[in-house]
């Protein structure tokens, strides 16, 4: 596999690891961006890993674009051979699926949807071969997800589920984007889940809502006082399906600023994962459930 490098104007280098999404491509991109960060090259202003690509922004008055490109290319071999082991963390996020707020929004924008006669959940369950919405939610919240990119807007994670490709849940975006999405909606587009960090326009299918803020520009939320964004690329997320009572209780705790998500340090090996996906996931999930 060879990275397709490209100058994005005179201030960016864009590297596409692969056209399609895979955890292997994500890991190569992450290894590259980690290597660039470690190298401490003068003139680099932004280092952004993405799903199956990455982007480096630089000041061409400080580092010559061609020199930087050569340097990146020289890191490529090491990155693709790097032992794909990541020291990271697993975060459990409570999600109220089939909540009244995303449902209301979903009904308000029905004419922009592929199937105006079903809800987003009913439609997505059906096209992914699940007999019921409940089975679909069980699949959605049963296995963990990788934060493969953070962006679009502040703190919004793109999540890629840690299952084999044939089990990946896929759904098209709305035919025309909505002008509104509730804050903290769990959405899905293509093969990615996303959590809307702020209220706003959006085109992803809407499945549920989390009570937990994931972005706080005021830094008042106790677990967002250092980093105003909860998620970083490489984090692992496990959705925990909750009902209305749990949602309300958690929200009350959050409003009193007493709540924080369960977070555990962990090590993830892509090799171990590829040889035993569900065994690897089970061990990760034990870290948050097993006590």
């Amino acid at each position: 596999m060879s990275i397709r490098f490209n100058f994005g104007g005179d201030e960016h280098i864009f590297g596409e690891v692969s056209e399609d999404m895979s955890l292997t491509s994500f890991f190569t991109g992450l290894s590259m961006t980690n290597a660039v960060r470690t190298a401490g090259i003068q003139g680099i202003t932004e280092i952004c890993p993405a799903n199956a690509s990455f982007q480096i922004r630089f000041n061409p008055d400080i580092v010559k674009p061609q020199d930087l490109l050569s340097e990146l290319k020289s890191m490529e071999e090491a990155a693709s051979k790097a032992d794909p082991v990541l020291k990271t963390r697993i975060i459990e996020l409570p999600v109220f699926f089939q909540d009244p707020w995303t449902r209301e929004t979903c009904l308000r924008f029905r004419e922009r949807h592929q199937d105006p006669s079903s809800t987003d959940l009913e439609y997505s369950a059906r096209i992914n071969g699940y007999a019921t919405v409940e089975e679909f939610i069980a699949a959605y919240s049963g296995q963990p997800w990788f934060v493969s990119m953070v962006g679009f807007v502040a703190g919004l994670p793109f999540l890629y589920q840690m299952v084999e490709r044939k089990k990946q849940i896929q759904a098209p975006k709305y035919l025309r984007p909505r002008t509104d999405t509730p804050k903290l909606t769990i959405g899905h587009g293509g093969c990615f889940a996303a959590i809307y960090s702020v209220r706003g326009a959006g085109g992803y299918q809407m499945y549920g809502i989390t009570p937990a803020p994931i972005y706080d520009p005021t830094r008042k939320v106790r677990y967002l006082s250092d980093d105003m964004c909860l998620f970083k690329p490489g984090d692992i997320v496990k959705f925990k399906a909750i009902g209305r009572d749990d949602y309300d209780a958690t929200l009350e705790e959050i409003e009193a600023n007493r709540w924080q998500p369960t977070v555990r340090e962990c090590t993830f090996s892509l090799t171990d994962f590829n040889s035993d996906i569900y065994g690897t996931n089970a061990k990760l999930m034990e870290l948050i459930n097993g006590r």
């Binding site: 999404m21 199956a52 690509s53 922004r57 962006g151 502040a154 293509g190 964004c229």
Partner: protein
């Protein structure tokens, strides 16, 4: 010392030279869309070039001062009025307690920059006072100004009567020519579509803001046929969500190009044809809706030469103002 907002204008926000370093979590650099105008406004009133100013879009605010200061307006031709009397742009002038500053109709460009000696002293967030409106971050309460707001002003020592002559400012032509380095996902469109993209004259659409500028009026793109890669989405303009460079030209569904600007969305699932060069980002900031514009293909060498030229122009202006 404070400035009271009597009326906010159409979209007025606090901006400086931005907060690089957080794009990987989706927080854009931000800052004055026209960086040359932002810097010069500050220098005219004796501020550091990176002090916070007000960026007013299409229509100016009305402000009342509670203490004397020196102010200057640069960027688009939005004529300032002090207590109803017109004052020049690109020139510092004094204001005193009780004075009201308002603006006439926009005569050229799209965004004006008002610097006040001492700078607008809102809290620094992630290294900058710039307002990131989408993320409700920085600036004055993370938003554009509203009537009744009061903005704190720092201690300054500007001189009135300092001005930057017209030959040291940047002129804009019609149609606007936006130089662009083709690349990114250029290979996704046919050669004929690529040629047409540069030949046609586009027009700035009404959807033009700090996030990005949309253009319309050209022919929809033809894509090279392919089976869409896993995870990319079904439209031929879809890619597996990737980072968006500042200045990148994305074309959702192949119809209307969008050039991302200082408050760019940091990534997404639309293919990009390339990236507008850094030297032309200020120019975009001054385009009004309906302005005709063309994209002009350049090489990386051209882009670097244009950047050097722009730096030299800034240096000449700075030298002049340093006297």
């Amino acid at each position: 010392m404070a400035v009271k907002v009597i009326s906010p204008g159409l979209s007025t926000s606090v901006q400086d030279l931005g907060r690089p370093g957080h794009y990987h979590v989706g927080i854009p650099e931000g800052g004055g869309m026209d960086r040359f105008a932002t810097r010069i406004a500050n220098l005219l009133v004796g501020n550091d070039p990176g002090a916070a100013v007000l960026e007013a879009t299409f229509m100016g605010p009305e402000l009342e001062f509670t203490q004397s200061a020196v102010v200057a307006v640069t960027g688009g031709e939005l004529p300032p009025k002090l207590n109803g009397e017109e004052r020049p742009t690109w020139e510092s002038f004094p204001v005193k307690a009780g004075d009201r500053l308002s603006f006439g109709f926009l005569k050229g460009g799209a965004r004006a920059y008002l610097a006040i000696s001492g700078g607008i002293d809102v809290p620094v967030v992630l290294g900058s006072r710039s307002t990131y409106i989408l993320g409700a971050l920085g600036g004055h309460q993370g938003r554009t100004l509203k009537a009744g707001d009061e903005l704190p002003i720092g201690e300054g020592s500007g001189k009135a009567g300092l001005s930057l002559p017209a030959n040291l400012r940047r002129a804009w032509n019609s149609p606007a020519e936006l130089r662009m380095l083709p690349g990114m996902y250029w290979h996704r469109i046919t050669e004929a579509a690529g040629n047409r993209f540069f030949e046609e004259t586009w027009k700035v659409a009404p959807e033009a803001d700090r996030i990005g500028y949309r253009f319309r009026g050209g022919t929809p793109l033809e894509f090279v046929e392919r089976e869409q890669p896993f995870g990319a989405g079904s439209d031929p303009s879809n890619i597996v969500d990737a980072c968006y460079p500042y200045g990148s030209v994305q074309v959702p569904s192949g119809t209307e190009p969008i050039v991302l600007h200082r408050d760019a969305v940091s990534g997404g699932g639309y293919m990009m044809l390339g990236v507008v060069i850094s030297a032309d980002m200020d120019l975009i900031a001054q385009l009004q809706p309906h302005t005709p514009a063309r994209f002009v293909a350049v090489t990386l060498e051209d882009a670097l030469a244009a950047r050097a030229e722009q730096r030299a122009a800034l240096a000449r202006a700075e030298e002049y103002l340093a006297g």
